[in-house]
């Protein structure tokens, strides 16, 4: 199979969808590659740095028959467009009684570990999960990045595509042809029987690395990648936990009101899954601080393989007799 980097896979997704549907247009302050060459300046719009305008224009154009892709570039710039995301995009379909479709995709990079300091190292997907009304994808591999972004562009609702910065240069196999990954379907990235690890974005590969290393000790780790945060594939996660009886959630956002908190909640509030638990649920998340700049501090703030391993050992030891 072809090997593509995460960012190549994303570019390919946009190009394929623009070829497929003339109503797909893209707006951003900058682009990777040279999309104007193929698609022209009418469909590829270099814009002023006006995130509110771009975010709302995506809605207005979507409600008028187009399928815009608005690239905020970094998720941190999306905060400049708070009104358009929170008050408009997440509510516009429902508050108008479902009379129109708003097929707009918002793209952004996310996550830390790149030495970009406090503002540009954030992973705020749970802020948008909280709103109700936005679909959210968070791929961890080049193949999923391409397939989910293509599905997002074809979706008739506002979708936010969170694209992890640390994965940009990571390469992996990407199927040929019209490769789509459905929104709302998790994937078991590694099957196991002793403990379920749900990892997000960069921490899927880190969890897989830990699983590989613990396999040498005879510990069987199942690694699940939700891939989509809204709608969350609740049943795949619960089914895994019912099998293993143990859950560790790994994410680089701080734990308070996070995606990790939501995943823990959907597991423990389901009676059958709750009764199957043999150990307390563990979260491995960022420290509750703005991500610091210096490499020693940044590393201390973010999860790593050591902390994932420790959390797995904790749930293995805490064997609840039920």
């Amino acid at each position: 199979m072809r090997q593509l980097s995460f960012s190549q896979a994303l570019d390919e997704a946009v190009a394929e969808e623009m070829r497929r549907d003339a109503r797909v247009i893209t707006l951003a302050t900058d682009f990777t590659g040279d999309p104007i060459k193929e698609f022209g300046p009418k469909r590829v719009r270099f814009s002023p740095i006006s995130e509110s305008a771009l975010t709302g224009m995506g809605l207005g154009a979507a409600g008028s028959g187009y399928r815009p892709i608005v690239n905020w570039r970094m998720v941190t710039f999306s905060f400049v467009a708070m009104d358009q995301i929170v008050n408009q995009a997440s509510k516009i379909r429902y508050m108008f009684g479902g009379q129109a479709r708003f097929p707009v995709t918002y793209r952004c990079s996310t996550g830390g570990g790149m030495g970009l300091a406090a503002q540009h190292s954030q992973s705020p997907y749970s802020m948008w999960m909280h709103l109700a009304g936005l679909k959210i994808v968070l791929p961890a591999t080049p193949a999923d990045a391409k397939g989910l972004l293509k599905s997002a562009i074809r979706d008739d609702n506002p979708v936010i595509s969170f694209e992890c910065s640390r994965l940009n240069a990571v390469s992996g196999p990407v199927p040929d042809g019209d490769h789509l990954v459905p929104i709302g379907v998790a994937e078991v990235k590694r099957a196991g029987t002793d403990v379920t690890v749900v990892g997000l974005a960069f921490y899927v590969q880190e969890s897989l690395a830990v699983a590989e290393s613990l396999a040498n000790e005879g510990v069987s780790v199942e690694v699940i990648d939700p891939r989509t945060l809204v709608p969350l594939d609740v049943e795949t996660i619960r089914a895994s936990v019912r099998k293993t009886g143990r859950l560790v959630v790994v994410d680089e956002a701080p734990p308070t009101c996070s995606a990790a908190a939501e995943i823990a909640a959907i597991v423990v509030e389901d009676p059958a899954t709750f009764h199957a638990l043999r150990a307390p649920v563990q979260r491995v998340c960022a420290a509750p601080v703005p991500v610091p700049y210096s490499p020693t501090l940044e590393a201390a703030a973010l999860p790593d393989r050591g902390r994932i391993t420790e959390a797995i050992r904790r749930v293995l030891v805490a064997n609840r007799l039920s």
């Binding site: 002023p48 509110s52 305008a53 224009m57 207005g60 979507a62 008028s64």
Partner: protein
């Protein structure tokens, strides 16, 4: 297409309908038939009607919190508007939106909006769609003097000008941003001055003169249709009543002399007198018109009253398009 000569009697009819609709809405809110908030448009009728007389269903407008007048001027059905205010299933938004979120996409009414300035980016996106379509359609954004102090106003004007989008920005300066007088909000007496740095035509006009509004809007709409870009029109006007009401109209805080002065410039009385003087309307016609409008309003209330409340089991319907 737009009539070359406007139907002045129809414009008068719509202005009276808007006024009587909102006078009735105030009464119905006080009586508890309407559930949420009401922002009456009374006094500003010439603006919505004068502008929308230049538009077709293929042109799109975005409104604000004071949106009943824009809906009626664009051709919305007052029965479905009233049902929405009553919170009933036959309302435009099936009771999910209420007064501040009425929309009718089938006639190019892309929604009222509860956030000051929030509609500007959305209208700009509708203008982008119109430009992409290349069929000479336009977008119009209605907003108040308060929105001029919002960043979204400036982002929208800037990007519209840079991209020569077919949009008309209609600022309804009713002298008060909520309860703060315009003079303490803005350093310039003429808000159309903001057009200059964005290199678009800007003009401040008497918003209570429907024919003047019509003519100015026609020039701006024609300019947009021709692909020559946006225009900012400031219509100076006055709202006769409060900013917003809940259970009862709030106490009046504005100077009595100021209110009296503006009431003497009643846009409906002015057009009626003009049409009577020109012989386009006889005194009996006016009375007949008013009777027809009262009958329409009674029918709208009966329709709204007969419509059921939404079934709570439909709570999650319309969240996402399939």
């Amino acid at each position: 297409m737009r009539e070359e000569t406007p139907d002045l009697v129809e414009m008068l009819r719509k202005m009276i309908l808007i006024r009587e609709f909102d006078e009735l809405a105030i009464k119905l809110r006080s009586a508890g038939k309407i559930y949420g908030t009401v922002h009456p448009y009374v006094g500003q009728e010439a603006i919505a009607v004068g502008v929308c007389a230049n538009l077709t269903d293929a042109d799109r407008v975005v409104s604000n919190h004071r949106g009943h007048g824009h809906c009626i001027a664009k051709g919305a059905d007052i029965k479905r508007m009233m049902a929405e205010l009553f919170g009933r299933v036959d309302g435009y938004c099936k009771g999910k939106g209420g007064s501040m979120h009425i929309a009718d996409f089938s006639i190019g009414m892309l929604g009222a909006n509860g956030i000051v300035g929030g509609g500007l980016p959305i209208a700009t996106g509708a203008a982008l769609a119109a430009q992409m379509d290349g069929e000479g359609n336009v977008a119009v954004c209605f907003f108040g003097d308060g929105a001029v102090a919002e960043g979204e106003f400036h982002e929208a004007l800037n990007i519209s000008s840079v991209w020569a989008l077919p949009i008309v920005f209609v600022c309804e300066n009713n002298q008060y941003a909520a309860n703060n007088a315009v003079r303490v909000q803005h350093p310039t007496p003429d808000l159309s001055a903001h057009a200059t740095p964005y290199r678009m035509p800007g003009i401040s006009i008497d918003g209570n003169d429907v024919l003047g509004v019509y003519d100015t809007a026609r020039t701006a709409v024609d300019r947009a249709r021709a692909g020559d870009g946006p225009t900012l029109i400031e219509c100076k006007t006055y709202r006769w009543y409060f900013h917003a009401m809940r259970h009862a109209p709030p106490p009046e805080t504005r100077p009595a002399a100021e209110i009296a002065e503006w009431r003497a410039r009643d846009p409906i009385a002015r057009l009626s007198a003009d049409l009577l003087a020109r012989g386009l309307l006889a005194a009996g016609d006016l009375e007949k018109l008013r009777q027809q409008i009262q009958a329409e309003l009674e029918a709208a209330v009966a329709f709204a009253d007969a419509s059921p409340f939404p079934d709570p089991s439909d709570l999650l319907v319309d969240m996402f398009a399939q």
